[in-house]
Structures are given as structure tokens and as C-alpha cells.
Symmetry: C2
């Protein structure tokens, strides 16, 4: 079972690591972090540096493609090298997935046409540009394409996928190992539940 | 606001990246990943490699210390270099925190004596060795020492801490940005809720 996770400058690290934490535990999983050029890749905060041992050209296919998002995804929506890689991996994959604005990369690669999908709440209006229909759910599966909402939704997506790809008991065992029994201390994880002051603080740039 | 996250071989990546994703968004946050020797650090799955730009000796203090766990923590429970670093950082820190079996490192460093604490559900019996009292909650705050349960609990811990260190609205704004509105597809995230078959699959090694 080969999992490929493309990395790029200004990726959001948790978009990649949430699903990785789950899917790397599937039986016989092999995980490949890949980037346009192999080597270190710095994230959106400029603080976390993940190593990509493989260049895009080194990877011939995969079973599961997980495309993370982040501010850096925007610049790649017209980057043919990245989009070609995403298309090429998806063509070999059993499952094509995204987290957060990784969905826009799937869209720009032409992989969401006519599909139901989701992305980070602040970007859902963009899905229509790529011929996709936004479904306001945390994880949206349309055939073999599974998209997740923003950042932390990648964990829920990966557990859903683990059950579909392997079986429910395996997914539950992984959830138990990761002690994924979330208890957010506040109710602010969606635009509808977050209080106006939290929206305002975010708009002001969290400074 | 300086956040220090020590890394070590066979760390669990999500233990570090969950809190990082939250706390790096605090106003004026600076994040330092540190290791005994600076450079790449390979995680428990052998697949994710995070870069530590700083060696322990390079870091003179911090405001928030986040100690992640993982299988590699076990070997460090008697490693004086690591324990000295943890002690030294904690002495300067406003908050000393851990995720998963990172609590055992705090314990071995002598920082949990007489305190209430938690760790990964499979290791809670070990807290007593370090003079700590296990509290069966996802996040346990005892004064300035805040410990989280297994792996994914680091996200809940960090949101709790963000509110205490800055303010609740900032924590809520971060939760909104990360779209942390968890919807686990199964109820298997704690030993009590996981079905017997999931426990059995985990004991069999997820093969």
C-alpha cells in the first residue's frame, strides 16, 4: 500500500500530518513524501521543515494520493509540473484525496469536474470554478475522490478512508491507538459555531 | 513568545505537529524545533522526517515547552542529556506541557512529582513511578504543567493553553482557522468506547 503526499513551500503541516498519522498505520503501508525537488520543504509558518525524500519525477504511482493545502497551494494552481504530478498519481491511485485547499489543486488538475467536494470553509466558493459542487460536510466522498474540509478535517477523512480501504475494525484500532476522542475546549471550529469575536480576530490576522 | 518542541528519533510526528499547528498561530509566536544534534529527525513510522534547526545546547529558554511522545521516548527516560534539556527549558518556561508519552519524559525529569497528569491511555499506570497522580481526562492542567492524553489530544491541550496564555477569543479564532470541528466517523477513540475487536486488532499489531 503506497501512500504519496506531495509537499510544497508554504504547505500547512497538519494538513499532511493528520492523514499521515492515520494512514501510515494501515497494514503494509509505505509512505512517500514527494516534492518538485527532493529535500527540505518549509511550511506556511516558516517553522516546520518536512523532508521530501523523493522528487515528483521519482514516483511512478501510488494507491492513495493525499494532497494537502496551505497558502502555498495558491501559486501552484497554474503550475503545470505540480498539476501534472497530481494527475499522474491520481491516474494510478485507488483513492485520490485532499485536505483543506488541497482540493483546489485537485480541481485545477481537472479531477473534480462533475464531482461533489469540500475544502476549507473560507474557500468553498472556489470549488465551482473547477466544475465541482460544494457539499457542506467535513468529509465528502464521491466515488474514489475523497475531500476534507479545513486542516484538522484530514484526520476524519483518513479514518473514513482507512475503513473503506481496509475495514472498519482496522480504522477503529487506529483511532484507539491515536486516542482520537476529541474534546475541543470551545465550540468555534466552524463558521456557524464560532462567535462573532473569533471571526473578527481572525479577520484582523490573529495579531 | 517562544515555543520549544524537542524532537528525538522515533517521535510520533502528530504529537508534535498537533500543538504546533495551534500554538504557532499565537501572536508573535516563534517556534524552535530542537534535538540533541541539529538536523533531520526520523519519526516512529520511519517515514516522516522533521528538521530540527537547533541543537539542545543552542536554546537558552522558552515561554512554552511542548514535549511530544512516541516509542522513542522510552529510551530517553534515562538519557541525562535529554532530561537536563527538559529540566532547563521548564525552569525558564511559563508553561511546561506534554503530549502522549512525552509526559513520561516530564516525569523522568522530575517535573511531575506531586502533580496531577495524564498520558497515552496504555501508559497511564507509569505516571505513579514519577510521583504523579493520573487523572483520566484528555487534558490535565496542574498549575503551569499541562499534560495531554495520547497523540491527537495535543490539539485539545494546545487550544486550552492558547486560551490561558493569550485569551479565549484568540483560541477560538485559531480553532476556526484550523476548522477544528471534529467528527470522528467511529466511536473508538478511548479504551472504554472502542469495541473489543478494535482492541484485539491493535494487540495483534495492526497487521
Amino acid at each position: 500500500l503506497r501512500l504519496v503526499i506531495p509537499l510544497f513551500p508554504q504547505v500547512t503541516t497538519l494538513d499532511a500530518i493528520g492523514p499521515y498519522a492515520v494512514l501510515a498505520l494501515l497494514p503494509q503501508a509505505e509512505v512517500v513524501f514527494a516534492a518538485a525537488t527532493s529535500g527540505p520543504v518549509t511550511d506556511d509558518g516558516g517553522n516546520a521543515v518536512l523532508h521530501a525524500p523523493a522528487a515528483f519525477a521519482d514516483v511512478d504511482g501510488c494507491d492513495i494520493l493525499v494532497v494537502p493545502g496551505g497558502p502555498g497551494a495558491r501559486a501552484l494552481l497554474t503550475d503545470e509540473e505540480t498539476l501534472t504530478f497530481v494527475r499522474r498519481m491520481s491516474a494510478t491511485a485507488r483513492w485520490t484525496t485532499s485536505v483543506c485547499t488541497g482540493a483546489l489543486l485537485l480541481g485545477a488538475a481537472g479531477l473534480l469536474r462533475g464531482r461533489r467536494a469540500t475544502t476549507h470553509w473560507a474557500q468553498t466558493h472556489r470549488l465551482a470554478e473547477f466544475g465541482a459542487t460544494h457539499v457542506p460536510e467535513r468529509v465528502v466522498a464521491d466515488g474514489t475522490v475523497v475531500t476534507a474540509a479545513g486542516v484538522s478535517a484530514g484526520i476524519d477523512m483518513a479514518l473514513t478512508l482507512a475503513a473503506r480501504h481496509t475495514d472498519r475494525t482496522t480504522a477503529e484500532a487506529i483511532q484507539l491507538l491515536l486516542e482520537y476522542d476529541p474534546r475541543p475546549p470551545f465550540s468555534a471550529g466552524s463558521p456557524a459555531s464560532a462567535p462573532p469575536a473569533a471571526h473578527e480576530r481572525l479577520r484582523a490576522g490573529l495579531r
